[in-house]
Amino acid sequence: MTASGSARAVVRRGTAITAIALLGIAAVYVLAFDYTPIEARQGMAQKIFYVHVPAAWSALLAFSLVGIVSALYLWLKDPRLDRFAAASAEVGLAFSAVMLTTGPIWAKPIWGTWWTWDARLTLTLFLFFLFIGYLALRAALQDPAERARFSAVVGILGLLLVPFIHLSVYLFRTLHPQPIVLKPSAPSLPPEMLRTLLVSGSAFLLLYLGLVTIRYGLAVAEEAAEGRADAT
């Protein structure tokens, strides 16, 4: 199969996964409005939780994978790893944008303010900036090998920066709701809410996979097209 043919196959697979994920997210909307109880104190505003939290999980996953895959790239020098890191960063940026827009929409009625310099808000804002820096650097470099090496260095340093940002902003007292699913005791959510959240988490994970696959296929196609342009 030619390079552009296999790229097309990858994109097609990605589109299929994305379509399933979007159906899943549609189901999450139905579940959130029909199935889950209305939270006693927050009312309808709490429903955004089923979008906000899974988006945040996917963004964090995307960011961690950029860092880990970047380290692997510097070790193995496999261009597939570089393509994956770039795709993951782009998709991660989109999820961060969802997280950073749904958060304030919820925070305004509940906290009475759109934004506050809470530890986790600040951390996610910096994830967003790090994604932008990573992608801006990629866009500003011409040579593919150089682009791969430089962005891998930024990916690794960025992953190591996260604990430092977290530690330093944590020392300002935090307003953010404490973790309710991944905490030592059992999750304190009603089962309907927890199930909906898990459905949503899976749908967002699938969406991440689908979008990364599409982006990966497009990168392969772009490289093939550049290769053809160079050959003629």
Partner: protein, 226 residues
């Protein structure tokens, strides 16, 4: 190890000598820092906010901006006449080369800070008093941290279009932990608080320095070697 340090010092010495012969960059950076201090004075309402309340942030934003300018030129000078290629042909371990560039940048930024601090005391009427050794210490800790990351990013940024924009976009997020720590410690020092209240921040700053000096020295190969 000694040999390794000697090589790093040779590289740093080259940069320092080149800078001392022209002095233009150093002088501009010092003037720039002084101007930032002046601008800050007019960016506050003197009747509403006492200078001393704003002092730690003014000092650190000034240091950060001046460091950014200094770092921008660290590898621009190596780009002219392909000087970097010459440097890379020399039989120097990459880690020593990185350490040399780092030391030269620290000397540059340190000089700018050393001139800015008295100006800051003068303009903002801050009484450093017994806090001076502490402030010098925390300045060293924080500066080593962000200049280390800045040195490696500077080497990358010069290879891009819009290098002057690329460096701040990459570097500012990395400046945040050292800056928060430095501002907090400086504020406590100026208020005469006991050392125990700063230990957490000082540990964070020291850890940041250790982690990023090691990591950036190792990663530097990936930046300069094809």
């Amino acid at each position: 190890m000694i040999e390794w340090l000697r090589l790093a010092l040779t590289v740093a010495g080259k940069d320092v000598r080149a800078e001392l012969r022209s002095r233009t960059a150093l002088l501009s950076a010092v003037v720039f820092a002084a101007l930032v201090l002046v601008v800050f004075n007019f960016a506050r309402d003197p009747t509403a906010l006492a200078a001393v309340d704003l002092a730690p942030s003014v000092l650190w934003v000034t240091f950060a901006l001046a460091a950014m300018l200094a770092l921008n030129r660290a590898f621009t000078i190596e780009k002219e006449n392909a000087a970097l290629d010459g440097l890379l042909l020399a039989p120097i371990p990459r880690e020593a080369l990185f350490l040399g560039k780092l030391l030269a940048n620290l000397a540059f930024v340190g000089t700018v800070e050393a001139v800015t601090l008295p100006l800051f005391v003068l303009f903002f009427n801050v009484d450093l008093g017994a806090a001076l050794p502490g402030i010098i210490g925390v300045t060293a800790l924080a500066t080593i941290g962000f200049v280390t990351v800045g040195t490696i990013f500077s080497a990358m940024a010069v290879r891009t279009r819009f290098a002057e924009l690329m460096l701040p976009v990459l570097l500012l997020p990395f400046m945040v932990p050292p800056l928060i720590g430095a501002v907090q410690v400086t504020a406590r020092l100026l208020a005469g608080r006991p050392l125990s209240e700063m230990m957490g921040w000082l540990r964070l700053l020291a850890l940041y320095d250790v982690v990023f000096v090691i990591l950036c020295s190792l990663a530097f190969t990936a930046v300069v070697d094809e």
